[in-house]
Amino acid sequence: MKEFQPSSPRSAPVKSVGLIAWLRDNLFSSIPNAVVTIAFISFLAHYIPLLIDWAFLSANFKGETEAACVNDGACWVFVNAWSYQFFYGTYPPEEVWRINLTIVLLILVIIGSFTLPKSIRLKTSIAAWLLLPVVGIALLDGRLLGLEMVSTDLWGGFSLNVFMATASIVVAFPFSFLWALGRRSDMPFIRSVSVTFIEFFRGVPVLSLFFMGSVMLPLFFAEGTNVDKLIRVWLVLIFFMSGYMAEVFRGGFQAVPKGQYEAADSIGLGYWQKIMLIILPQVIKISMPNILATFVMLFKNTTFLLIIGIPEVVQTLQTALSNSYWLGGHALEGYLFVFLVFWGSCFGMSLLASRIERTMNTDKRD
């Protein structure tokens, strides 16, 4: 019997691997392709240096007033001077530690939800999340904790966007879960009410909800009750978010294999036991990327608050741009800054969502 001698591998011909091959396939694979590549590169080569010059090399970084912007480039002094308001609105500076503390607590709760030891993670995270808006309101408002009261009229800036979005999702989460259950219910009346609720809050422009909250809600309450504007907005955001989240959960419910429900039933679990112990954890896990995506959408929608006169960050930008001390036309710098802040947060959250999705996909393959 012949002994098999495997032949030794050769390395690939130069033309087919490495940088040259990559360039050929990706940038110059055909005449039209090559033309596009060259057009692109010349465009970039022309404009990128200009951009870098404007944004960095000739830009003004130091200073306090408009007069400090002597160079031709971007006037980042403007952004600098207004950065407090962009983040904190008109919150009194000596109390701003309260906003910072709330943000630190938020970050701690987020990290805790991922890193606490599994035995206490679930209970602690749920408790922490539910307490967060209460603690946040208490801190920011001040009265409950015996601190100096800061009226909600003074709350503003980017921290307000973050706070409203987070406070809304915390309440909307369990609320929308109930609506999603209701939609799946066998009881016809409960199902119709749930469907109506969900479709209403999804189908109506969010701006009209804000107007309803500002204008109609006061009419619904007995004479004399005065509900704070931000609380009304909070309620609106909760209902709005619940409509969308209920649909996310609906998709999650459908994605949980039917066998799970059947197994739970066959052990003899009651309805609520089945839901809380078996189904809910799986639904949340499956829906996580979509939940994050919905949160990002809600977060972007907090900018709409501007239209009902709440001084969140875009409103603050408008105020800054029309301020009489800064009428040098710094729209570009201002917008770029706010763009970056939002883009950074939203893009970061989308990346997180994709990462979670990818981890889940690899889980499933096992």
Binding site: F40, M187, G203, P205, S208, L219, V296, F339
Partner: protein, 406 residues
């Protein structure tokens, strides 16, 4: 081994036990419980609505707000920035409702058209052979998806359009199209006496295209030969009306925008508010549509293209016969929700003063009449209906492209 007598005994014993069970645990009966919960819910909702309605009526009486829709016949007393039908400040609230509605439809149609265009271009670009184009698609999607729409609207309106030059120094294309801080102006085609001939021919040409497609398909079924339908259709739509125009002596005059004083008059005016809102809506929604298109194309397994190639099909036929029909299954439901989102987002007009339905009615009319419930109610009904129409059309389209499975 069971014998039959034992089985009978067991069965009858069971029957007795279960009838005992139903007669004792009536509150555990799922049906009764279900009924109870629902009755409780109905009672709760009734109480809630009665209280709310009661309060509302009291409050409205106290502040002197009227109810009912009589206000629709009253004169509005204010003017709008732009209108597709004639409007004066002496016209009624009902008419201003229609004006707003038409403006909303206008910006929605423009937005949907361009968003779909951008979305498909960038969605397909994601699969280009050219690395730069692929990366451009990713950059476009990731940037415009992650910046709030309001911010984008403001950017276009306050940063870009307001830095356009003044009327006297407009950017212009030839002597016909002008762009300045007050708007975009381009010439209007005004039909003369025989213009109807050209329009009829155009309509006939469009109808003719459908007929042509059907004829070409039949011909291919019978003879196997393929007819260049696309080229022929384009030729028909372009040349037939042109010929008709030539034969009737070009019965059109062109109304050119002309500078009089500080402004342009004549031609078609597109106000900057409309431009900013349309651009922002198109670019923003386009990013989401691009993602939908990408998801659709990616959902198709590679084996499909391989099988089609191994049959000898050309790349363009593989696209149109195999890839696109299957991708649309995934894309169409996503398009449905994006279009509806766009219509709802058009309410951002309120932020820059474009006179859409929301701004003009809930914004101003509500302010003036104080009749919040009626105005808001009328407005959201319209948005619901528009979205239902979109849903209906897209579902029809979806059924046409969906798969049958076991």
């Amino acid at each position: 081994m069971f014998n039959e007598k034992t089985i009978e005994e067991v069965k009858s014993a069971n029957r007795k036990a279960s009838s005992d069970a139903t007669s004792t645990a009536f509150y555990n009966n799922p049906r009764i419980r279900g009924l109870f919960y629902q009755v409780a819910l109905v009672a709760g909702l009734l109480y809630f609505f009665v209280t709310v309605i009661g309060n509302t009526l009291d409050n409205m009486e106290a502040t002197g707000i009227k109810t009912g829709f009589a206000f629709l016949d009253a004169a509005a007393g204010y003017d709008v920035l732009m209108s597709l039908i004639s409007f004066e400040s002496t016209d009624t609230y009902a008419r201003i409702f229609v004006v707003g509605f038409l403006n909303t439809i206008l910006v929605s149609v423009i937005g949907i058209f361009f968003a779909t265009l951008f979305g498909f271009i960038f969605g397909v670009a994601y699969f280009s052979h050219n690395w730069l184009i692929r990366k451009l698609a990713v950059v476009y999607v990731e940037i415009f998806r992650n910046i709030p729409l309001l911010l984008q609207v403001f950017f276009w309106y306050f940063a870009v359009l307001s830095s356009l030059p003044s009327a006297r120094q407009s950017l212009s294309l030839g002597e016909a199209v002008f762009l300045n801080v007050r708007g975009l102006y381009f010439p209007k085609l005004v039909g003369g006496d025989l213009a109807w001939v050209v329009w009829t021919v155009l309509a006939l040409a469009i109808g003719g295209v459908f007929y042509l497609r059907r004829w070409a398909k039949k011909r291919q079924e019978i003879t196997g030969e393929q007819f260049p339908v696309l080229k022929a259709s384009l030729a028909l739509i372009i040349f037939a009306p042109l010929m008709a125009a030539a034969l009737t002596g070009f019965p059109f005059t062109v109304d050119y925008p002309a500078l009089k004083g500080f402004n342009y008059f004549g031609g078609v005016t597109v106000i900057p508010e409309l431009m900013a809102l349309s651009i922002a809506l198109s670019v923003y929604t386009g990013a989401f549509i691009a993602e939908a298109v990408r998801a659709g194309i990616q959902s198709i397994p590679r084996g499909q293209t391989e099988a089609a190639r191994s049959l000898g099909l050309r790349e363009n036929k593989i696209m149109s016969l195999i890839i696109v029909p299957q991708a649309m299954r995934v894309i169409v439901p996503l398009l449905n929700s994006e279009y509806q989102s766009l219509v709802k987002n058009s309410t951002l007009a309120a932020a820059i003063g474009y006179p859409d339905l929301f701004n003009v009615f809930v914004g101003t009319a509500l302010n003036q009449t104080g009749q919040a419930i009626e105005t808001i109610f009328m407005t959201i009904i319209v948005y619901f209906i528009v979205n239902m129409v979109i849903s209906f059309l897209m579902n029809r389209f979806n059924s046409a492209v969906s798969l049958v499975s076991r």
